[in-house]
């Protein structure tokens, strides 16, 4: 490709800005043209994100030991020492690719939107800038700007194009996220005061090397938890998860895919990128007398079990998928807390896999919602007979989410469990007990997914669903690539693991230089 390395991330991030302008220039009476323009720009972003991945491999990223690539560093606001500093390591690259893929596919899922098409796609492109920017920024202030940039488009996308309770869901999402942002802003101001003399108060690399407030651990803990709660709201970690079922259920299909597939990952990304390495003393030490990682693991455990139990109790198809996200993100927290090579790689792989499988599940729900105009599980039945092609894809999606061997979800869950089970007990006390409890989650997941599939797809074909058309070309186009990736990564996971293994190993070595992997 023609883009030089240093500008690559800038292009990935800001191409949607051109898309935004282009969408705004098309008159309202040409909704098809608006859909296609937006899709073309999303495709361009996807191509660029593939390019990021390919170049990362070509330049020896997997063996570079977590080095950053495609770096562009410029002064932006010199008065506050803020830089325009972009860069990507293995963790970023994998999430940039995921974002590119999902936003490209989700754009096609938005083709059935008829109300305010221009506004929808303008907001969608704006959202895309924010998401990409968060994964590319290496300056904390820039990170914050991109983080905030997503807030408003998401509010509108849920609030205008959502379901019946859209306004409630949108404002709930907004308020939860805003509280998190304010906490992050306060933490950033604390960092600013600490390092303004040194001249690089927002440079992530510098902060990493300085370990802010290492001398005053009580302040460091406050800053750590301010960041952590901000990210935990996004993940969403119990007890900050209640915005998620509302937002997911009310959002239009395309936006649910983005929410589950990308936005939740940003929380985990923030923890891995900012919390763990920058405040190593708190990460490896105690908070209120309890090991910090132990707290994270316990909350991860609660997420896994509680999310699964909630999912099992749902009567709304989409809400079930939403709670399954809560459960699946629990594995990520558990994997992070166990802090060894298997578990950390498993956690990041789980982030990626959850992006694929939950994206698929939301698309699958969207397909039948478009036909049946309701989502009550109890009223469905026998759809498998009605829509065989759709059913085939659904089976892959649900089983990937369930963690069936041979599909990607299995690999990441097993890695998390293996890693957590053999975690160093000095790092994570009661690791085995926690892992054993968490493994109940696997059974519960199998329970709610199989039960749901049985009620929706199996059984006698119901008369009211007679004549439902099978998945059309557009729907297959959005689902098939995800299904193919689920199978591919289930059979050949090492290709994905190689992307971020170096980053994870260097993170663990940084936090625990003396402990073996």
């Amino acid at each position: 490709m023609l883009v030089p390395d240093s500008l690559l991330l800038t292009f990935v991030t800001f191409v949607p800005l051109v898309g935004l302008v282009a969408v705004l220039c098309i008159p309202n009476r040409l909704p098809r043209a608006i859909h296609w323009t937006s899709a073309m720009f999303s495709a361009l972003v996807f191509v660029l994100s593939c390019d990021v991945l390919v170049r990362y491999f070509l330049q020896g990223g997997p063996t570079s030991g977590g080095r950053f690539f495609f770096i562009l560093q410029m002064n932006w606001i010199t008065a506050y020492h803020i830089q325009y500093y972009m860069g990507a390591d293995g963790l970023s690259v994998s999430l940039i690719f995921l974002t590119g893929l999902l936003s490209f596919l989700a754009c096609f899922a938005a083709f059935n939107i008829t109300k305010g098409v221009k506004g929808f796609h303008a907001m969608y492109q704006l959202l895309l800038i924010g998401m990409m920017g968060v994964f590319c920024a290496k300056d904390l202030f820039l990170f914050y700007v991109f983080w905030e940039l997503m807030l408003l488009p998401m509010y509108f996308l849920i609030g205008v194009w959502g379901g019946p309770r859209r306004e409630y869901a949108a404002i709930k999402f907004f308020l939860y996220t805003l509280v998190g942002s304010v906490l992050m802003l306060l933490a950033m101001l604390a960092l600013y005061c600490q390092y303004r003399e040194a001249g690089r108060p927002f440079d992530m690399e510098y902060l990493l090397s300085q370990q802010p407030f290492a001398a005053a651990l009580d302040i460091q803990q406050l800053v750590f938890w301010a960041f952590f709660i901000c990210f935990a709201i996004k993940i969403p970690m119990f007890p900050f998860h209640t915005w998620l079922p509302d937002a997911h259920v009310e959002a239009p299909t395309a936006i649910s895919v983005i929410l589950a597939g990308v936005l939740l990952k940003m929380g985990a990304y923030g923890i891995l990128r900012i919390n763990l390495p920058m405040f190593a003393a708190t990460t490896t030490g105690l908070t209120l007398g309890i090991p910090t990682l132990y707290i994270i693991a316990i909350f991860g455990l609660i997420n896994i079990i509680y999310g699964a139990l909630c999912a099992m109790a749902q009567t709304d198809f989409k809400k079930l998928v939403a709670y399954s996200s809560v459960s699946h993100m629990g594995y990520v927290l558990l994997g992070i807390a166990a802090m060894n090579r298997e578990s950390m790689n498993g956690a990041v792989f789980q982030m990626f896999n959850h992006g694929l499988s939950s994206g698929m599940l939301f698309l699958l729900v969207g397909v039948i919602y478009d036909r049946a105009h309701h989502r009550e599980i109890a009223r469905f039945g026998g759809l498998g007979v009605q829509m065989p092609r759709y059913f085939a894809l659904a089976v892959i999606g649900f089983f990937a989410s369930l963690g069936l061997p041979g599909l990607n979800g299995f690999i990441s869950e097993v890695m998390v469990f293996l890693g957590a089970f053999r975690a160093n007990l000095d790092i994570l006390p009661h690791a085995r007990a926690i892992t054993l409890c968490a493994s109940i989650g696997v059974v519960l997941t199998a329970g709610y997914i199989l039960w749901c599939m049985q009620r929706v797809y199996l059984g006698e074909a119901k008369p009211e669903y007679q004549g439902f058309p099978d998945a059309n070309a557009r729907e297959i186009f959005t689902l098939a690539p995800l299904a193919a990736l689920c199978i591919f990564l289930g059979v050949y996971p090492i290709i994905a693991l190689r992307v971020f293994d170096g980053t994870m190993v260097s993170l663990i070595r940084f936090l625990y230089p003396t402990v073996g992997m």
């Binding site: 606001i77 008065a79 408003l152 609030g159 205008v160 907004f174 805003l178 304010v182 005061c193």
Partner: protein, 493 residues
């Protein structure tokens, strides 16, 4: 001498109005507009011809005039430009305001010009009497302008309220000045700081009375109660003008009075013994905290967009007043920058409200329902201005607040940090009502959804303001640089 130039323009506008037939009074506005553009051009060339901050080089020595009653320096010139641009924008939208068409418009523009002259005198004043006269000269045309639509009951009421409050405030202020004169023997501002600490009690009373007068202009709590009524009743261009220029004049007056204190902290001179004794920090702490809290809390209940923006502008005065608890270079820059950013976002917001009012003749929140489908452009730009007022990145409002809170936290004293936390809490509260307007415009269904469009000229003006909101965010360094090159040098004052 820009003040003279402005005086000439004001007189010219009056004379043009004499010689034009009644029906042609539109041209008076046009003449005022052209003259203002020329003045702004002259000032810009003078201030920035060698890049931002070049004026400092040009004005190596500020020039005292009228025996040091006035001073011609970068700060004064910069704010003269600020007031000229505000008048320019106001004159432009006044020409495009439906409710102001017809009748004699000549005096309208002449009064606007006179207020602007007086504001630039405030920015250059170095003497309490000059300051007082200038502030009175701002007030008098504004009283008339507020009640300009004589047949509107609300406008007349607003004008009367404004006059009554204004008269009391200026009386109070003059009384305060008489205290200071009695103690120092001169009316020059720098001589205030020569008063010995043993007279602190009397000087303190004088300063508080003086502050009450200025607080009226700045709409600080508890001198704010005129503000919502006047803002609601006045023609919307005048509301915009009052909220930016008149408020700015109050702030610049306070900056001028406190200038020696700002300088003292910059050059590490001892703080004058008098001020040490009076300790205005607590006073400003309470004033700013009360102003922003009341402004934001009361704004939550407003159902009229003009009133809502009035309370929001009270809250913003509170944010800016926070800087006076610090009195250092950082705080000085924060005030200057905040005023510039506030200029863009607040004028933009009021102008959008005006153009909506032009089309719908309403400005209650109910009439904004479903605005996004009626006029997408106006809704989008209003959203941008409101977000900037709220302070969400990537808008200039965020960086202005960041600078202000950053200055407070940099000071690292317990009261400063407490005030910063009050400010951040206030920002969260303000999210509610700014977003309420956005929500009403975008999410709600309106009864009347007939589309309308702003004319191309109006739309272009708003787009310029909206782009400026983003441009100031992305290109922050020039404005920061410009603010930091305004010299703080007591020897030159």
């Amino acid at each position: 001498m820009p003040i003279l130039l402005l005086c000439v323009i004001a007189l010219l506008v009056i004379m043009v109005d004499w010689f034009l037939p009644l029906k042609r009074s539109f041209y008076t506005g046009a003449v005022a507009l052209v003259c203002l553009v020329v003045t702004a051009g002259v000032l810009i060339v003078f201030l920035f011809h060698g890049g931002p901050g070049a004026a400092h080089e040009a004005l190596h020595k500020p020039i005292p005039i009228f025996g040091g009653r006035l001073i011609l320096d970068t700060l004064g010139l910069f704010f003269t430009l600020f007031f000229v641009l505000a008048a320019l924008a106001t004159a432009w939208v006044s020409l495009r305001t439906r409710s102001l068409r017809g009748g004699r418009a000549g005096e309208y523009y002449a009064l606007l010009m006179l207020a602007t002259v007086a504001m630039s005198v405030v920015a250059a004043s170095r003497d309490f009497i000059v300051l007082y006269l200038a502030i009175e000269t701002i007030s008098l045309p504004c009283y008339v302008l507020v009640g300009y639509q004589r047949r509107e009951r609300l406008a007349t009421e607003a004008s009367l309220k404004y006059i009554l409050y204004g008269a009391v405030a200026s009386g109070t202020m003059l009384y305060g000045i008489s205290f200071i004169y009695g103690l120092s023997g001169t009316t020059l501002i720098p001589d205030l700081y020569q008063i010995g600490p043993e007279k602190a009690a009397a000087a303190g009373v004088g300063l508080i009375l003086l502050l009450a007068g200025l607080g009226f202009k700045m709409a600080l709590v508890p001198f704010h109660s005129w503000c919502p009524d006047v803002y609601e009743g006045a023609p919307t261009p005048i509301t915009a003008y009052l909220s930016v220029a008149s408020k700015g004049a109050g702030f610049i007056a306070l900056v001028r009075i406190a200038y020696p204190l700002f300088c003292a902290s910059e050059t590490h001179l001892a703080i004058p013994a008098l001020i040490e004794r009076i300790n205005p920090v607590t006073l400003f702490w309470v004033l700013s905290a009360a102003t922003m809290t009341l402004g934001n809390l009361v704004a939550v209940w407003q159902t009229n967009v003009k009133r809502l923006l009035a309370y929001s502008s009270i809250a913003h005065a509170g944010y800016m007043a926070m800087a006076f608890t610090l009195m250092n270079k950082e705080a000085f820059e924060a005030i200057v920058i905040y005023l510039v950013v506030y200029f863009v976002m607040n004028l933009g917001a009021f102008f959008t409200v005006l153009f909506i009012e032009n089309a719908t003749r309403r400005c209650d929140l109910d009439s904004y329902r479903g605005m996004i489908r009626r006029s997408p452009l106006l809704s989008v730009v209003l959203t941008i201005f409101l977000l900037s007022l709220l302070g969400i990145p990537p808008t200039a409002g965020f960086l202005a607040k960041f600078k202000l809170f950053g200055a407070l936290i940099k000071a690292a004293s317990r009261p400063a940090i407490a005030l910063a936390i009050v400010g951040i809490a206030n920002t969260v509260v303000s999210a509610y009502f700014y977003l309420k307007v956005v929500k009403v415009m975008v999410l709600d269904e309106g009864e009347d959804e007939t589309p309308f469009a702003a004319s191309a000229l109006d739309g272009a003006l708003l787009v310029v303001f909206a782009v400026a909101v983003f441009a100031l965010f992305v290109f922050w360094t020039p404005i920061q640089h410009m603010a930091s090159t305004i010299p703080l040098d007591l020897t030159q004052f």
